[in-house]
């Protein structure tokens, strides 16, 4: 009951005119970057980050959140119409979505992904209302030992389901931790790895690194191997799926929501969620051989899943202060700029922000459904902008975004360097996600480690003798061991 009252209060905040406008701007921008391949929600949030700092914390969070889940809606459009995933999470949608479009069923495919996303998103927000306060209450009892072990667990999890070589993904974690130590040591005031430069004394900014790793490197990949886009000239009609379509996708939507919710809460698992949802449907289906030829279940399930996942990621961020993905990490960064400490105390100290944000997500989901179906023809038009004009624009945005953070050219150079690094990482199949997560969690990890060791007078065994902490450690060890013995599920196996 307490939550319900708080939620109602949250709605009264979210329904204020300014917050509705911020929510609308966020949703529209999110759909736009979701539709455009080559600029993802991470880069978009990074771009608007400096600007969002001009408005109040609630408005800023509402807008940034809109970009984030809006992109999950928009990503399906390109997958279905162009066979090019607008987002990494829409890769699986291509398989059946594009085939449906080729059969002249682009309308129902787009329709079911919008409805599925809405259903998945709304159910997940209910889960968020239920679980986030519970989790925050439990986490209030956590000490530095538990937080240290939890961080270690997050880092091993993010490498667990990464694609390609496990060792390569694992290597990114210590690398990220080393990068995180650059700058002033908060405990002793010593400068680490700064080489006397002013820019490095503040540490590396997360935003320039993310823009480099995800924005610039993506441009370089696309410039280096131009994709020939064949546009499907199918007429889009019948956006409302037929009764038979609903019957077929009823259970896939439910299961997609569940998979997305569970994996969205776990740090670093989000990207693989739609793959698992698709694989699950294929296994449960009576006609698995038809998957890949344009069945509606193959669109409904992953599209529902990626939306559920993107909203479930808010649970660990809001209740524990642990980011489940790169974008959640930027949200943490934004909160810190406002002087709000993320973590279990957020709910108690800033209930307006917590409940206002959650209720705005209800509204945002509604807006996306109502706005997006009629706007699909418009998004299709935007897709016709050739990449020749798109990539200079993306480069300009990245330069502006990283410069306007602090008005420091050093941040732009950081972005440039990480653009090159990110390109090389993509070429040689090193995942960027573990690196960014380690970079963000690094200061948290270090701080908790030192505090824990101060309390225990330098005894490392405390991490294993305190029960909750030991539990996290055992899970991490199990993940590491099973990955090294190569018994982890192969994620991209379903792609072919």
């Amino acid at each position: 009951m307490e939550s319900l009252n708080a939620l109602l209060n949250g709605f009264s905040i979210a329904f204020s005119l300014t917050n509705i406008i911020y929510c609308l701007i966020g949703c529209l921008l999110g759909t736009l970057v979701g539709v455009l391949p080559g600029i993802g929600p991470a880069a978009a949030v990074a771009l608007l980050f400096p600007t969002a700092m001009h408005i109040n914390p609630i408005g800023a969070m509402v807008m940034l959140a809109g970009i984030y889940y809006g992109a999950a809606y928009g990503g399906s459009t390109t997958s279905i119409l162009l066979n090019i995933p607008g987002e990494a999470t829409s890769v699986v949608t291509c398989l059946d979505g594009y085939q449906m479009a080729r059969k002249g069923r682009a309308g129902p495919a787009l329709g079911i992904s919008a409805f599925g996303s809405f259903i998945g998103g709304t159910i997940t927000i209910m889960g968020l209302v239920l679980f986030a306060p519970l989790l925050a209450n439990v986490a209030l009892k956590f000490g530095p030992h538990e937080f240290f072990s939890l961080t270690i667990m997050c880092m091993t999890m993010v490498t667990y389901l990464s694609r390609g070589s496990f060792i390569k993904a694992l290597m990114m974690v210590p690398l990220g931790l080393i990068l995180a130590t650059i700058g002033m040591d908060p405990h002793t005031g010593t400068f680490r790895f700064t080489y006397g430069t002013l820019t490095l004394k503040d540490g590396l900014g997360i935003v320039p690194i993310v823009m480099g790793l995800f924005g610039i490197s993506e441009v370089l990949i696309n410039v280096g191997s131009p994709v020939q886009r064949t546009f499907l000239k199918a007429k889009i009609r019948d956006l409302f799926p037929s009764l038979q379509d609903w019957k077929d996708s009823k259970f896939p939507i439910m299961r997609g929501t569940l998979v997305g919710f569970v994996l969205g809460v776990l740090p670093g698992m989000g990207l693989s969620a739609p793959f698992l949802a698709y694989g699950l449907e294929k296994k449960l289906s009576k006609h698995p051989e038809k998957f890949g030829t344009g069945v509606i279940e193959g669109v409904a399930s992953p599209e529902t899943c990626n939306n559920a996942e993107s909203q479930a990621a808010f649970i660990p961020m809001l209740s524990l202060g642990i980011p489940a993905n790169v974008i959640m990490a930027m949200f943490l960064g934004a909160l810190m700029v406002y002087g709000i400490t993320p973590g279990p105390l957020l709910l108690r100290d800033h209930p307006d922000l917590f409940w206002g944000l959650i209720s705005s997500m209800y509204i945002g989901n509604m807006m996306l459904l109502v706005l997006n179906l009629p706007l699909i023809p418009l998004w299709v038009q935007i897709l016709r902008v050739p990449y020749s004009y798109l990539f200079p624009a993306i480069l300009i945005f990245c330069v502006i975004g990283s410069y306007s953070l602090n008005g420091n050219i050093g941040d732009v150079i950081t972005m440039f360097v990480f653009g090159v690094v990110g390109y090389l990482m993509k070429r040689f199949e090193f995942e960027a996600a573990p690196l960014v997560l380690a970079l963000i969690l690094g200061p948290l990890l270090e701080d908790n480690l030192r505090q824990a060791l101060l309390i225990s007078r330098g005894n490392f065994m405390v991490f294993l003798t305190r029960p909750i902490s030991a539990g996290f450690m055992i899970v991490s060890l199990a993940i590491l061991a099973s990955s090294l013995l190569r018994i982890r599920p192969k994620v991209p196996a379903d792609e072919s």
Binding site: T51, I167, T181, R192, L220, V223, G224, P392, I409, Y423
Partner: protein, 121 residues
């Protein structure tokens, strides 16, 4: 070990990174021979990549000296002319349009901080 100092995380991360690197080298020598055979066949256009990187780097260098408008104009113009091989008219029009539009959106509407440069705009 009893009292971790400022170098603690960096040192042990470095040790772990070293161990993982050795593991990767061993793995690639003994196990992954089959993987190396299937190199990507598609040709990478290195010229386009190096030109864009070079252009971006130069524009970052001149960014604070010549200001946002001039450096962005030059960057977009160069990319369109030298990589995309557009005609002069298209290049000039498109780069003007993109520069002014982004200036208007970010500087005027969003009040972002952008360098003025020696010419004062």
């Amino acid at each position: 070990m009893q009292k971790p100092g400022p170098g603690f995380i960096s040192f042990w991360s470095g040790v772990i990174l070293g161990i993982l690197t050795i593991m990767m080298v061993i793995q690639s020598i003994w196990f992954d021979k089959a993987d190396r055979a299937e190199e990507k066949k598609e040709k990478t256009q290195w010229r386009a990549i190096f030109l864009s990187l070079g252009a971006l780097f130069v524009s970052i260098l001149i960014f604070e000296h010549l200001g946002f408008i001039i450096s962005t104009l030059l960057l977009v113009g160069f990319l369109l002319k030298c990589i995309e091989k557009k005609g002069w008219v298209v290049t000039i029009l498109a780069s003007l349009l993109m520069t002014l539009a982004s200036y208007y959106i970010f500087k005027v509407l969003l009040e972002a901080e952008l360098p003025k440069g020696i010419f004062g705009f």
